[in-house]
Amino acid sequence: PNIQQGRQRCIYGEVSPTEAGGGSDSPAPKPAASPPSVPRPKDDFQEELVIRPLHSGDIYTSFQFRTLWETDFTRENKVSHYRLFPKSLGQVISKFSVRELHISFTQGYWRTMQWGQPYLPSPPGAELWVWFQDSLTDVDGTWKELTNVLSGIFCASLNFIDSTNTVQPSASFKPLGIGNVTDHQIVCTENLTPWKKLLPCGSKAGLAVLLKSEKLFHSSFHSQAVHIRPVCKDDQCKTTSWELRQTLNVVFDLHNSGQGKNEWSLFKMFSRTLTEACPVASSSKIYIDITDNSQGEQFELSPATPLLSQAVVLGDRRTFSVYDLTQQITFGTMRSLNLLIRGKSSDMLRPLLHAERYVAGYGLQTGEIHTLMYNNHPYRSFPVLLLDSVPWYLRLYIHTLTVTSKGKDNKPSYIHYQPSKDRVRPHLLEMLVQLPPNSVTEVTLQFERALLKWTEYTPDPNHGFYVGSSVISSLVPSIVAMDTNNSRERPLFSSFFPSKEESSYFVRVYTEPLLVNLPTPDFSMPYNVICLTCTVVAVGYGSLYNLLTRSFQIEEPSPGLAKRIANIIRKMRGVPPL
């Protein structure tokens, strides 16, 4: 942990610990006064929905709710007064000295090749990564307690996250985190409800009224996340405020539900329409990606909006129609907004970076993990950072590690490998690999499957064991100039990863999780073994005992059967026996 703490210090070293949470308290109770004496709130809430018709005909909807709060959770001896920020999360931050917290629950796999890059990437299953304050000494104990508390808050079994499936990456999560973990978990309504409860307006008003679980989970991809981090308030980053971002990304498969018609509306997707913005939100907007439709030939949008906005997202300049929910005019005479799009969407930018992973080999003894990373850029090569966390029960043979691109050996410029310890910690492999232009880079690694103790198997061991996604982080060369002015007001979806230079943008890609079969015993075996062993012992012991205790003596051979029968007959006849 020392390495990360050092890094963390240099990133956030400027944060002054004396920043006050709410300064303007006057001891004397104020009389009910007129509006001008109202203090400016130190927190701010924004909500946003982005809708992007995808190339494949699916609809990508991305909700973002952001709460910003100018406060300092690290203050000693605090009295915490929450307004928009949820109290439960605030208490977690101050109790466990959390610097950053990112948690995501995802169902389904994001198909990068068909759908392009998501605004916020997340791996299938649950993922939690946390940066702790450098004042914290017992990281492991705090991590364990934190996972337990978070599983309570989000109704998820995060408490199964322990040291055996947690890694502390040395470089991969540098911009945002420390202590990463992935865990396979089915996401369901019970995770959505507590997530909605964290919003100031709940699901009563604003964009959150659309979040109806039976529609959201009837989708191809569903990912909900909570990101808490300190963000800079100005360019110099002298002061920071805390940002809570709640995101929900859903991909609706409209071919199935729309009977083949290329027509969708808010009501069709969510079975609700919008009637108002959340009253406490300072901004509440809907963005619809109409880049491919600037002339209106591909699809039509109703009601039409005159507001257009341009934003550079993921290395591409996109145009959006904007609906501002804080304006009464948006809702029209019907006092409700039901966006309707007819038609078909077209091209998308081919993702420059994408990756896939699979397990090769046969039998239950050995296997091979293949990771393929595609660089689709026609002429630029760029480096990627690959993070692999493999459970200890796949014993990696690190000497078999090969990295090849275009048939040639590609030597990684940085390798950090932490071997696993049985039942203690997983393998951690981080590599910095240069991807040549327009190429596929293949990383292969052989492993041996371990035999687990019989209590370590899951209730359905023949289903196989999940191995979390590997994470590929990279600065991908951008085609258009990125917006580096971070203080400017921008749509929320384009501001999550701050870009430091104009020529490239940050992308994180998650591969598929692996499903690996381990040699599985017959679980009635222990009792069978007990019985068999006991029988063998008993037989051996019995014969030995017999030999030792029997007294041997010569006995007259008993007369044969014929003789005995003859004797009986002779007795009946009264003749002396033979």
Binding site: P27, P31, Y82, K197, G202, A205, V539, T549
Partner: protein, 551 residues
């Protein structure tokens, strides 16, 4: 013939020696390897604790002012007198608490009043100043005045002065002093209330039972949460200076109460938080009303939004300030007699308090919503402070007639009120820890399968030690230490009781054990037993054969 006899003999010896090996080596080996680890527990001390008898005593110093004692009464000074009053509190789990109250009256005569008021008396003790009948210190109809510290003024009555000696004088004054003591330190009902969870309350009056159920159970810490419920953020933009209000009104009380427990305060604002019942419209006054019997349904839907504290497991005291939405305003709470409750607030025992704050005076004819509203925190905190006192068990029991109680000062809590709380909390803590420890010991005694680890044994013994210390300190009257030790006792006893390692193998059934043992033990033991039986029967036969020979 002789060889067969030798051979038989050898077989018998072999069987006997195998049986001996099995009994001497096999059985102990099996016993040792399958034994559950059970660390030593101080069982005898725990048993003693189960029959614990508490003797509570409060030191009362009686100071006679000039002109209250006749010269011949002065002759025998000083003197200490002990009087016992016995109270029995019985229950099934907490065997018997005897609370004889020692009234030790050390009398000092002709002491200077002003000199005494300066000296600080230790917590748990009382000073009673006896002033002349004619003194103008007290109003005409007041006999006893109870101050903010641990002092009381007692006007000496004419009928009390008949005694010749000081003992007689004190004996005459004793009923009065007892009354003072009941108000200022502890009484039978207090102790019963503190033990109400441990012992069965004798069917007394309903009021006192309700009183005893109101306060939170003793705990090493409490979380106080103030929630502002704004069901209508479209109409109201609310501002409350909770930070300043907590600093001004709540913090002094909590600082004073810090010996009793740790407190942490937080606040939150909840939007679209509705009450569970629809208020009734009262057309005669054009107001909305909440009836007393519907108040029980108010809390549940709100509670789902309040959220539990993620960072600690201490009990939470909730204080909700509810601003009715514009369409249901003004809203008033009506009591059982259909009268408006003046504070417009109510509390729920062991849960918290709710106050309805009407803002309709901010509406004007041409008001543009949302309205900015600043909440008057003095009004709100006055109500919440009173509720907090009730919920924390700072009971203001109605004093007997002729008593005048000084209004509580800046801290909202007099010294003797704190003492009272500490008395009952110490007793409650001791009772709780004792029940926990005794039931744990009983459980471990009954279920032999439970593994007792060393750390549990250590927790148990530290709990027992703290308990014994707490009892002795309490009996000595050192309230602060007693409370401290009793808290430690609770903590370690709970830690031992709820240790997850106690759950392992708790329900490992015997039949499964036998299913595993039988394949091994049956084939081994049957031949041994049979041959032993055979040897015995042969020996008996030989014995019988010998007898006729002798005859």
């Amino acid at each position: 013939m002789a060889t067969t006899e030798v051979e038989r003999r050898r077989g018998q010896l072999a069987a006997l020696s195998i049986a001996a090996v099995v009994i001497i080596v096999g059985v102990p080996l099996w016993w040792r390897t399958t034994e559950t680890y059970r660390a030593w527990l101080p069982v005898s001390q725990i048993k003693e604790l189960a029959k614990l008898q508490l003797h509570l005593s409060a030191d009362v110093e009686v100071v006679f002012a000039r002109g209250t004692v006749t010269p011949e009464q002065q002759k025998k000074v000083p003197l200490t007198q002990t009087q016992n009053m016995e109270h029995r509190v019985d229950g099934d789990s907490f065997n018997a608490i005897l609370t004889p109250m020692r009234l030790s009256n050390s009398a000092s005569v002709e002491a200077d009043l002003s000199l005494h008021t300066l000296s600080e008396s230790p917590s748990g003790s009382l000073v009673v100043y006896v002033i002349p009948e004619s003194s103008s210190l007290l109003p005409q109809n007041v006999d006893v005045y109870i101050g903010q510290r641990r002092t009381a003024l007692l006007r000496i009555g004419s009928q009390m002065r008949v005694g010749k000696t000081l003992e007689q004088l004190l004996a005459h004054m004793e009923p009065r002093i007892k009354q003072v003591l009941h108000v200022m330190s502890f009484s039978h009902t207090d102790i019963t209330a503190a033990l109400s969870n441990r012992v069965r309350i004798s069917p007394g009056n309903k009021e006192s039972i309700a009183d005893s159920m109101r306060a939170f159970k003793s705990s090493p810490g409490y979380e106080i949460t103030f929630s502002l419920l704004n069901p209508d953020p479209k109409s109201h933009r609310l501002h409350w200076d909770i930070e300043g209000a907590v600093e001004t009104y709540i913090q002094p009380l909590l600082t004073k109460l810090s010996p009793v427990a740790n407190f942490s305060i937080d606040s939150q604002t909840l939007y679209y938080a509705m009450l569970g019942v629809n208020p009734r419209f009262d057309s005669s006054r054009s107001t909305y009303t909440l009836n007393a019997d519907s108040l029980a349904h108010v809390i549940n839907p709100v509670e789902a939004r309040l959220g539990s504290n993620a960072a600690s497991s201490n009990p939470v005291l909730n204080f909700l300030l509810y601003i009715p939405d514009a369409h249901h305003s003004p809203l008033y709470i009506h009591d059982h007699k259909k009268q408006q409750v003046p504070t417009n607030a109510f509390h729920s025992p062991r849960w918290g308090g709710i106050m309805v704050y009407n803002v309709n005076e901010f509406y004007e004819v041409d008001t543009v919503f949302p309205v900015d509203i600043n909440i008057d925190m003095a009004k709100v905190m006055g109500v919440f402070l009173a509720q907090l006192r009730l919920l924390l068990g700072v009971q203001s029991s109605t004093p007997p007639p002729g008593f005048l109680v000084a209004p509580c000062g800046n801290a909202g809590l007099a010294d003797w009120e704190l003492d009272r709380l500490m008395w009952s909390r110490s007793v409650e803590n001791i009772a709780t820890a004792t029940t926990t420890i005794t039931s744990l010991a009983q459980l471990l005694d009954q279920i032999g399968n439970i593994v007792i680890n060393d750390n549990i044994a250590q927790q148990v013994s530290s709990a027992v030690t703290s308990l014994q210390l707490a009892v002795s300190e309490l009996e000595a009257g050192n309230l602060g230490f007693a409370l401290q030790y009793s808290k430690e006792a609770i903590l370690s006893s709970e830690r031992a009781f709820f240790d997850p390692s106690l759950l392992h193998l708790l329900y490992f059934p015997d039949d499964q054990k036998f299913a595993i043992y039988i394949p091994l033990f049956l084939p081994m033991c049957v031949p041994i037993l049979l041959s032993l039986l055979k040897i015995v029967s042969e020996a008996r036969q030989k014995h019988r054969e010998k007898k006729p020979k002798k005859d």
